[in-house]
């Protein structure tokens, strides 16, 4: 547990800025979502990167793990100054993509999972405020079979993504993150 909000395991309830242990006031507050299923091969990239981020023990970072993004994650964004969405991706270039994103109405054919943009849209509709600047870190994955572990290539992508994001979490500033995204020239995926 690195700060207020739910732990990776989802073991505590209060959302940032709601109740429970407050964020420190000296640095902007970051909520990091990492989602996926570690029992489905490279689908575990999100939770595995989240585990490394949590191990940094930054008091201004709340790490939230789930199987997939859903409606209630909008509530976890309350009080946050920055949001980071971390997931495996079949569309990202190897080793990863990093870009800023925005609220966008989510139309899907299923209620099973939401895109980061849809979660931000729920924030707008439910909280009635502008969501914090939000960035997506999509790690390239290749295989997603049930009962398999992380593939060799995905493991390298995980290392590369952590090396990239760790300094950003040290300096949670939207302008700096935008500059990092611009240097990477990632296209939204």
């Amino acid at each position: 547990m690195s700060a207020a909000g739910e732990s990776r395991s989802g073991a505590t309830a209060p959302a940032p800025g709601e109740t429970g242990e407050p964020f420190p006031a000296d640095r902007p507050r970051v909520v990091v979502f990492g989602w996926g299923n570690v029992s489905r091969g490279d689908d575990g990239l999100g939770p595995l990167l989240l585990a490394r981020i949590e191990a940094l023990a930054h008091p201004h970072v709340a790490a939230i793990e789930d199987f997939q993004l859903q409606l209630e994650h909008a509530l976890d964004l309350r009080g946050a100054d920055l949001a980071l969405f971390v997931d495996a991706s079949v569309a990202a270039p190897a080793p990863f993509a990093f870009f800023e994103t925005q609220a966008r109405e989510g139309m899907t054919h299923t209620s099973h999972a939401m895109a980061p943009e849809a979660v931000l849209d729920v924030f707008v509709r439910v909280i009635g405020e502008t969501p914090p600047p939000a960035f997506v870190l999509g790690l390239r994955g290749e295989t997603f079979d049930l009962g398999t572990g992380l593939g060799e290539a995905a493991a390298a992508h995980l290392d590369a993504a952590f090396a990239f994001v760790a300094p950003l979490l040290e300096r949670p500033d939207a302008a700096l993150w935008r500059a990092a995204a611009a240097r990477l020239s990632s296209q939204p995926i």
Binding site: N37, F67, Q70, E72, V126, G138, L146
Partner: protein
């Protein structure tokens, strides 16, 4: 042979595939075969290959299974957790659970029902998602209804959150919970946890009731349409208690025919193979279960909210029972069969689950400390069944002398509904697409029928990035003639 299941001369027909592009191969896809005059000859819904589930479980120690199975499905892990632990109670030789342990499991399960139904409710509350049809008057009416329920989206999200809190307090965690163990529970409920949920539950009941009223109001805008969209006759199955009331957690299997007559009742689910049979078809990875005594042709059935509230003789909570009766009156003495009634029934169930949670929270047993059953003779085979949010869920296991699982058979809700979903989209295709130029708006009708069942198309997976719907039109030679790629995350 099912109508529209297999065309006589498929090589002469055009093929349209509605294919949600996701990261795992074999996800849901709809294919339609049409002739040059746009008449439909074949409609099939191909759903996820669940083949890996059993292999994933076999070889593991039985006591691990209630935790491991949660990784099968990121949508309803609690359902798998509870179905598995019910089987493992028996394998491990435990007798009836203490009242507190069973009530805590029920609280966890009802929380799962609320949070799952609330997600659907949220999407339902968005008129464009529910009925993105091309009829302008219909759209105007729906928007009008939505304006009468301005807080519906917020309430949906908070209902979802409440359900998850019930899970967290009973399972120990929101995901990867370990609350239920063979023989009982490993965590009791604290007074503070109970009080926190009790503080909010009356508000949840009020919101759930409001959601039911919203769907009823939507129905009144165009009753003929809602009554008959995706309508087809089928049998239905669900769990009921000894008095015939709906029981989400435990009971006997009851199946009714389309006219409401009884096919079987109070069947011990441990003997499910005596009344149900699974059939494989060459064109689908997913099996097609049916009622054994009726055969494959006529023995298929519906499960899930619409089946459950009609199979049951009653609901045990007052507000939900009133709403159930209102909905069923529309059938004129027979079960209602329109696909869109699934939405209505789902919200009645959400209301019922909220009322059940309130009753549990007011029950002194819920704070008890006796969490484990007495242990008797171990078994080597057992079945656990619950009513998961999408329908009846079977877990069947055998273990060897080393406590390792040697056999595992899961019949998940979406498998139980396999034929029914195919019938739903065939009904829609026949009524709205046959003989017409296929447009995106018309194809959306197919999606609406699928969405009503909310099938588990992507167990434990998701997709980052665009999740478009691809529609391919292929000529008789297999050459791609046209591809429309619809980005489902359209910008505002």
């Amino acid at each position: 042979m099912f109508r529209l299941e297999t065309a006589e001369n498929p090589q002469t027909l055009r093929r349209i595939a509605i294919d949600p592009v996701t990261r795992v191969e074999g996800h849901g896809k709809v294919t339609l075969l049409m002739d040059d005059a746009n008449h439909i000859h074949q409609v099939r819904l191909h759903i996820v290959e669940f083949r890996g589930f059993e292999v994933f479980i076999e070889g593991r120690p039985y006591w691990e299974v209630p935790v491991t199975v949660q990784r099968l499905c990121g949508i309803c892990p609690v359902s798998h957790h509870l179905a598995a632990v019910k089987a493992m109670d028996l394998i491990a030789g435990f007798g009836p659970l203490p009242a507190t342990a069973e009530k805590l499991r029920r609280l966890m399960h009802y929380g799962q029902i609320v949070q799952s139904h609330a997600v659907h409710f949220f999407h339902l509350a968005s008129p464009d998602l529910l009925l993105g049809f091309d009829s302008e008057p219909t759209r105007r009416n729906i928007v009008g209804v939505a304006q009468d329920f301005p807080e519906i989206a917020k309430q949906g999200v908070l209902l979802r959150k409440f359900g998850q809190e019930a899970i967290r307090h009973t399972a120990g965690k929101r995901i990867h919970g370990t609350g239920a163990i063979p023989g009982g529970m490993n965590k009791g409920l604290t007074q503070a946890e109970r009080d926190e949920m009790r503080r909010d539950i009356d508000q949840m009941i009020e919101w759930a009731l409001g959601a039911v009223h919203m769907v009823a109001a939507l129905h009144r805008t165009k009753p003929e349409f809602y009554n008959h969209f995706g309508e087809f006759e089928s049998s239905m199955m669900g769990l009921v208690d000894a008095d015939g009331a709906l029981d989400f957690y435990h009971g006997g299997l009851r199946a009714l025919a389309a006219d409401g007559s009884t096919i079987f009742d109070h069947v011990d689910y441990g003997t499910y193979e005596e009344v149900l049979q699974e059939e494989a078809k060459s064109w689908s990875y997913m099996k097609f279960p049916h009622i054994r005594s009726l055969g494959a042709e006529t023995g298929w059935y519906k499960v899930g909210p619409l089946a459950r509230v009609q199979v049951a003789s009653r609901l045990t909570t007052p507000l939900a029972e009133i709403e159930r009766k209102k909905m069923m009156q529309l059938g004129g003495g027979k079960p209602v069969m329109g696909t869109l009634f699934y939405h209505w029934a789902r919200l009645i169930e959400a209301l019922h689950a909220c009322e059940l949670i309130r009753d549990l929270l007011d029950d002194p047993d819920i704070l008890g400390k006796d969490l484990m059953a007495d242990r008797g003779e171990r078994r080597d085979e057992a079945v656990g069944v619950i009513e998961a949010p999408r329908g009846t869920l079977f877990h069947h296991y055998r273990v060897d002398e080393n406590d390792q699982v040697t056999f595992c058979n899961l019949i998940v809700s979406t498998t139980n509904n396999n034929q029914a979903m195919n019938e739903a989209i065939r009904s829609v295709a026949t009524k709205y697409l046959d003989g017409r130029e296929v447009t995106e708006g018309l194809l959306n009708h197919i999606e609406v029928a699928i969405r009503a069942y909310d099938p588990c198309l992507s167990c434990a997976t998701h997709a980052l990035g665009q999740m478009p719907l691809e529609v391919d039109l292929v000529d008789a030679d297999g050459t791609l003639v046209q591809r429309a790629r619809r980005n489902m995350r359209e910008a505002r």
